[in-house]
């Protein structure tokens, strides 16, 4: 059933589509709504079943408490920002030319290389935790945001290469031939022709890489101490062995997801177009 037929179908068909969309939106938004709701409820209201949603149960105390310890959360957010920005920018800077080479240049066994790059993602993180820790420890880079950024680069780069390679494969050859006729070499074609039309997939892969790095927990846990702690670690600290302060946990989470949501909203058109284009071939 095509989108056009759905759009121009009868009222019943449109109603079904509408209901489907409403269910999808509720399904997708429910965790975020619950997060925000929990962040403004008192603990004693939260533990009731169902939660007590009376007006007197709402409070901003969770946010004031979290903001009172803002040094910790703020420090974590700055660290996350540095780590995510670093790994994203390097992943794009290295990944875009690599993807273009694998898509367009006469690289022997390009498909095999691309698969090998993807295969690196199949290795569970825990399998490389100890060797990675030893290497970074011996380099004296434990508790260093940039070393964490390099580690994140190792799993962001393959994803970026795969998203962009799919897009580059879908670009008509005629565009590059026209550039070649005008005397452009590979580098000029890539820089002046390919990159400008690749804005959507670049944005999509950047946002994807940024979110991956922002949310990562395991490597941040083992490779940091106090100074390089990222946001997920700071949030996890609200959950103790004997006591979990759900309201404060959610207030911290709400504050920390705000930048990610802002980035996603800001680049939403490019993200959608980028992933759609990237899926054309790959």
């Amino acid at each position: 059933m095509s989108y056009a037929r759905l759009q121009h179908g009868g009222p019943l068909r449109r109603l079904i589509v509408l209901i489907g969309l409403v269910i999808f939106v509720i399904w997708s938004a429910a965790p975020i709504v619950w997060l925000v709701l929990t962040s403004v409820l008192q603990q004693r209201a939260l533990i009731q079943q169902p939660p007590d949603l009376a007006l007197h149960s709402f409070t901003l105390a969770n946010f004031t408490t979290v903001l009172a310890s803002a040094a910790l959360l703020g420090h974590g957010m700055v660290n996350s920002l540095i780590v995510a920005s670093f790994s994203t920018s390097v992943a794009l800077g290295v990944g875009a030319p690599a993807a273009y080479a694998l898509a367009r240049l006469p690289v022997p066994r390009a498909n095999g290389i691309a698969f090998l790059i993807l295969a690196t993602q199949m290795l569970p993180g825990i399998a490389i935790a100890i060797p990675l820790f030893i290497v970074i420890s011996r380099l004296g880079l434990i508790d260093n945001v940039l070393s964490l950024g390099v580690v994140y680069l190792s799993f962001n780069l393959p994803i970026v290469i795969w998203i962009l390679r799919g897009f580059f494969l879908g670009i008509p050859f005629g565009i590059e031939k026209a550039a070649a006729v005008d005397g452009a070499g590979i580098f000029k074609t890539f820089w002046y022709i390919i990159l400008p039309i690749s804005w959507p997939p670049l944005c999509a892969s950047a946002v994807f890489a940024f979110i991956e790095a922002w949310n990562e927990f395991f490597f941040a846990l083992i490779l940091t101490r106090q100074h390089a702690q990222t946001v997920p670690l700071v949030i996890a600290q609200f959950a103790g062995q004997y006591q979990t302060v759900f309201g404060q946990l959610m207030a911290a989470a709400a504050i920390s997801v705000a930048p990610v949501i802002a980035v996603a909203v800001l680049f939403r058109n490019q993200i959608i177009r980028g992933f759609a284009d990237g899926m054309m071939k790959g």
Binding site: Q42, Q43, R44, L46, I47, Q48, Q49, A129, I130, F133, I134, S137, R138, I142, F218, L221, I222, R225, Q226, L233, A236, Q237, F238, A239, G240, Q241, Y242, Q243, T244
Partner: protein, 428 residues
């Protein structure tokens, strides 16, 4: 400015900035070159944390550092992440800590720890419950000192009991079942547990260990092989299965004790086994709906009497520490009567020193202290081993299956026994 930005100037400005930064560091850093720098790895409050990391005994802590020419740095982490960071750091041979918090992991990390507790002064050791050393003693060497008496005891909603005409807590298994049955109804359950996570101290297997000891059983024999596939082991599990009829059905999915605690605190259950810290939470109006209604009691006795398990929150010293003596002195400070008293008065974590537990001021502030002290007179073995996590997963999974009616208690015990035998044989 940018006009003058050439390589020579850049080097010049860079050197000047470097010298400036170094001088700033020289003038701002306290001149205490002879100080011993101690690095302590501990949980974040409100989990049990030392003075300086938690808000208590801060002046005494500052004085200790000054008197002992030591500067202490705390590396604090959420409790649930402690083990993984320690395991990675130890495995890679680059753990940077002098003092390390441990919770049932001493056998697992024994090769990285120093048996410093053998050198604790006699007056300190004599004032600690002898059994508190059980989980930190390996091959007759003491690798740690427990700093808070944290045993499972029974917490109950006094109002619920009074409503059905019950005046005091259940004393034995028969009463426990009868009370649970009586208290169930009207959308409320007699009991709540957190059976969702099979592993670790406070997991499903450890609850079974409580009942196992109450039934007169134990996990391992003298040859370190499992000896629980017998009447005591089966009776313990059967007791848990029987109680399920009056236990909040969500218990099978509550993975953390916080989830079960919240059920009790909201008045949806009447009794639960919990750790001493719950006393404060239950009486905090911001977190509880049963403020002033909660009481605690010694766990109901089985055929062999009452028994519990130990939270085993202990201080250990890293074998690789270059300041082992100073680290031991700091732990002695943590265990000093003044600090122990402030620990319970200001944070709610019970002391481990018997003299402080008996202090009237402490008992007034923490009315459950006397109950925990009484519970401590009976067995409270957590049966920790180097492969404790693996063992508790194996046992806890079988217990979960029995609780859900997928196996009989006898079958689950037999299967758990076989699994633990295999683990122990691998251990060698």
């Amino acid at each position: 400015m940018f006009d003058s930005l050439n390589r020579r100037n850049l080097l010049k400005y860079g050197a000047a900035t470097g010298v400036g930064a170094a001088m700033a560091g020289f003038w701002t850093r306290p001149v205490r070159a002879a100080d011993a720098a101690l690095n302590v790895f501990c949980p974040l409050p409100p989990d049990p944390a030392p003075p300086g990391a938690a808000e208590f005994a801060k002046e005494a802590f500052a004085k200790w550092q000054a008197d002992h020419a030591a500067s202490v740095t705390y590396e604090k982490l959420g409790w649930s992440q402690l083990h993984d960071r320690m395991a990675t750091a130890f495995a890679s041979g680059s753990a940077p800590w002098d003092i390390i918090y441990n919770c049932g992991w001493v056998p697992e990390f024994q090769s990285f720890l120093a048996p410093y507790a053998d050198q604790l002064p006699k007056d300190v050791v004599d004032d600690l419950p002898p059994s508190s050393f059980k989980t930190v003693t390996i091959d007759a060497k003491r690798y740690g000192a427990v700093f808070t008496l944290s045993l499972l005891t029974l917490f109950y909603n006094r109002e619920h009991l009074e409503k059905v005409g019950l005046k005091e807590a259940p004393k034995d298994w028969a009463e426990f079942k009868a009370y649970a049955k009586e208290l169930t109804g009207g959308g409320r359950y007699g009991l709540v547990f957190n059976y969702g996570d099979p592993a670790g101290i406070g997991g499903t297997a450890s609850y079974w260990m409580v009942f196992l000891q109450q039934a007169g059983g134990k996990m391992y024999g003298e040859d370190r092989m499992p000896v629980f596939n017998n009447a005591a082991g089966v009776d313990a599990l059967q007791m848990m299965v029987d109680l399920m009829a009056w236990t909040d059905p969500g218990s099978i999915s509550y993975a953390n004790i916080n989830d079960a605690t919240n059920v009790l605190l909201s008045g949806r259950a009447s009794m639960m086994m919990n750790w001493p810290f719950m006393w404060n939470t239950a009486n905090d109006p911001n977190q509880s709906q049963i403020v002033g209604k909660v009481s605690s009691a010694v766990l109901p006795a089985g055929p062999a009497g009452t028994a519990s398990i130990d939270g085993t929150d202990a201080w250990t010293v890293a074998k690789a520490s270059k300041n082992q003596d100073k680290a031991r002195e700091l732990i002695e400070f943590y265990l000093s009567p003044e600090v122990q008293k402030r620990q319970v008065l200001d944070t709610g974590w019970l002391p481990i020193r018997l003299s402080v537990l008996a202090d009237p001021e402490v008992q007034a502030k923490a009315p459950n202290a006397a109950v925990v002290l009484e519970q401590a007179k009976h067995p409270y073995d957590s049966f920790v081993t180097p492969d404790y996590n693996e063992v508790t997963v194996a046992v806890g999974t079988q217990v979960q299956q029995a609780l859900q009616g997928q196996k009989t208690a006898a079958q689950a015990m037999a299967d758990a026994h076989d699994a633990v035998v295999a683990i122990v044989k691998r251990r060698g």
